[in-house]
């Protein structure tokens, strides 16, 4: 096996979910006593390559080109497939982010490979390594087997342990030789500024649901988050109401998160929301309806009016 981790940048930094891909590569390598390599793509990478190069990879390919300043599916597909062909990589591992979700299927197509998205664990079936992933809004797990010589996968960061530290690999600049045509042009990224921790990787998250009744109450939710050093997340209902931008949405069609502590405040606990918080260590539910489904997945629950409880929490913390 010849394993390649595709590491990505996000807003000038290494994407936190790269860690899950590296761990998956380490686990795959261990199974067969193999090594793994990595590729880092982007532009003006600064110290990112050094930061990435401490997990025992054999080689770290660096593709640093203006074409990769903004994420675009086709040039990334071309670059990674060129690298994989040239160096005979047959396991391509990426992170479960909106970037890899976008270009990995295209990459799999280019390499005539089967792909599994959002792999949460490796398992063995009749001596063959298979991949387990969540399906049906996270309500079921499915074991899949890839039959092509090359396997392509993205990894669910909420289920993976941290990668183990290791030595630095040989750094190799790779000329991907790709060009960006006028088929697609990047126009802009509309992004809400936030001083709080990144929702995808925060240890603590305060989740707000429709029960908060208005956008104004987000200020109080934010005050609780700041007391806890937490990120703010939300249900689709809150995002649809326009109270928060979409990148705050947690769930099947939003972010999957795995904080140590999750507060579900005025959240009913619909399956699509629950799908995003499966990996949370402790879920605290605050809801005035004792029958709300959130209490079936919560670890700690309080049946009460959130407009009473939240200010008291801020006060008491």
């Amino acid at each position: 096996m010849n394993i390649l981790v595709v590491a990505e940048m996000q807003l000038g930094k290494l994407k936190p979910s790269n860690r899950a891909s590296i761990r998956m590569a380490q686990d795959l390598a261990k199974k067969d006593g193999d090594s793994f390599s990595m590729v880092l793509l982007g532009h003006q990478l600064g110290d990112a390559a050094n930061e990435l190069n401490r997990f025992g990879a054999k080689k770290l390919f660096v593709i640093d080109a203006p074409e990769f300043e903004h994420y675009l599916a086709k040039p990334l597909t071309d670059a990674v497939s060129n690298l994989a062909r040239e160096h005979g990589f047959d396991r391509i591992v990426g992170c479960e982010a909106t970037t890899a979700r976008d270009f990995f299927p295209r990459l799999a197509g280019a390499l005539d490979a089967g792909m599994c998205r959002g792999v949460s664990a490796l398992c063995e079936v009749n001596g063959e390594t298979c991949y387990q992933r969540a399906v049906f809004s996270g309500m079921a797990l499915r074991t899949e087997r890839i039959h092509t010589p090359i396997h392509v996968m993205t990894v669910d960061p909420t289920t993976m342990d941290d990668p183990t530290e290791g030595g630095a690999g040989e750094v190799v600049a790779f000329d991907a030789g790709v060009t960006v045509g006028d088929e697609i042009r990047f126009v802009e990224l509309r992004r809400a500024k936030s001083e709080r921790p990144d929702l995808s990787v925060a240890d603590r998250v305060v989740g707000a649901g429709r029960g908060i009744k208005s956008a104004e109450y987000l200020e109080t939710i934010g005050a609780l988050a700041d007391k806890l050093g937490a990120a703010v997340g939300a249900t689709r209902a809150v995002v649809d109401a326009g109270w928060l931008p979409n990148e705050f949405q947690v769930g099947q069609t939003g972010k999957a998160i795995a904080p140590k502590l999750y507060f579900a405040i005025g959240i009913s606990g619909a399956v699509q929301h629950a799908a995003g918080i499966r990996g949370a260590k402790t879920i605290v539910a605050i809801n005035k309806d004792a029958e709300a489904p959130i209490f079936k997945i919560a670890d700690i629950g309080i049946v009460a009016d959130l407009f009473d409880v939240v200010p008291q929490l801020i006060e008491g913390l």
């Binding site: 079921a140 087997r145 990224l189 979409n246 605290v284 309080i302």
Partner: protein, 252 residues
């Protein structure tokens, strides 16, 4: 302008997971099918684009006759016709689905293809980008805003990404996959459901398309995720909540 919209019949997302698994494993279990919600958003979008020059909306579905009702309900929203590809009892993988749809795209030469961003049963999110790669077309996935330029040669889309809304300017023809906030799909009315029975329907068979017939990825097993305890410790008031959190060392 001609537009293709893909529609996949899927199990109702409210099906209990154990029943869904039983049905997937062929061990019985009754499961209601619905049209994949993201695909209905795609159909709705195509209908809304009739104002700016879309004249022909063709639904494409890889499915057998038993799921015709879901395809009909999509047509009845306001599509003109459909092309069905019968998998002939085969379990098809993402590659074969994309290749089947590509066959129809090459024949129809639409201005663009609208799809759902993912199927809510497989949660694969693969068919759109695979199809784009096969056709050598640009792709715009997770789209929640669409606007066309004056000569309809390009489209400006807003994509929902981890970092925020990314705006791209894309040359047509392209593959566009739809996210939740693009629109709210309309319901098909009863008269339109009746009318949809007369909509032209072309039927193809998967084995006639010359696509490799072994899936690249197969399903080996299903299981239920390790449940959460299901027994929340209920506290009486905020004071008890705070002491519980402190005792569990979750807050200082």
């Amino acid at each position: 302008m001609k537009v293709l919209v893909t529609v996949k019949p899927v199990a109702d997302p409210n099906t209990p997971p154990a029943a869904w698994i039983a049905e997937q494993e062929g061990k019985g279990g009754s499961v209601n099918d619905v049209a994949n919600y993201f695909d209905l958003i795609a159909v709705e979008q195509a209908i809304r684009l009739k104002d700016i020059g879309v004249t022909d909306i063709c639904i494409v579905s890889v499915t057998d006759d038993s799921k015709m009702a879901q395809v009909r309900s999509a047509i009845a929203m306001g599509a003109n016709r459909a092309t069905l590809i019968d998998p002939e009892g085969k379990q098809l993988g993402a590659y074969q689905l994309a290749a089947s749809i590509a066959h129809v795209v090459k024949k129809e030469e639409p201005a663009f293809v609208l799809m759902g961003k993912q199927a809510t049963d497989d949660d694969a999110s693969q068919v759109g980008p695979l199809l784009a790669g096969m056709l050598g077309w640009p792709q715009a996935t997770f789209v929640s805003e669409i606007g066309f330029n004056d000569d309809r040669s390009r489209v400006t889309v807003g994509r929902e990404t981890d970092e925020g809304v990314e705006v791209l300017d894309v040359k047509l023809p392209a593959i566009i996959t739809c996210d939740l906030r693009l629109n709210e799909p309309r319901y098909a009315t009863l008269p339109n459901l009746i009318k949809s029975k007369k909509a032209p329907m072309e039927r193809l068979k998967f084995t006639d398309l010359g696509i490799e017939d072994k899936p690249r990825v197969t399903v080996e097993a299903y299981s239920l995720p390790p449940g959460r305890s299901g027994k929340a410790k209920m506290v009486a008031d905020t004071a008890e909540l705070l002491t519980t959190l402190k005792d569990m060392k979750l807050v200082d």
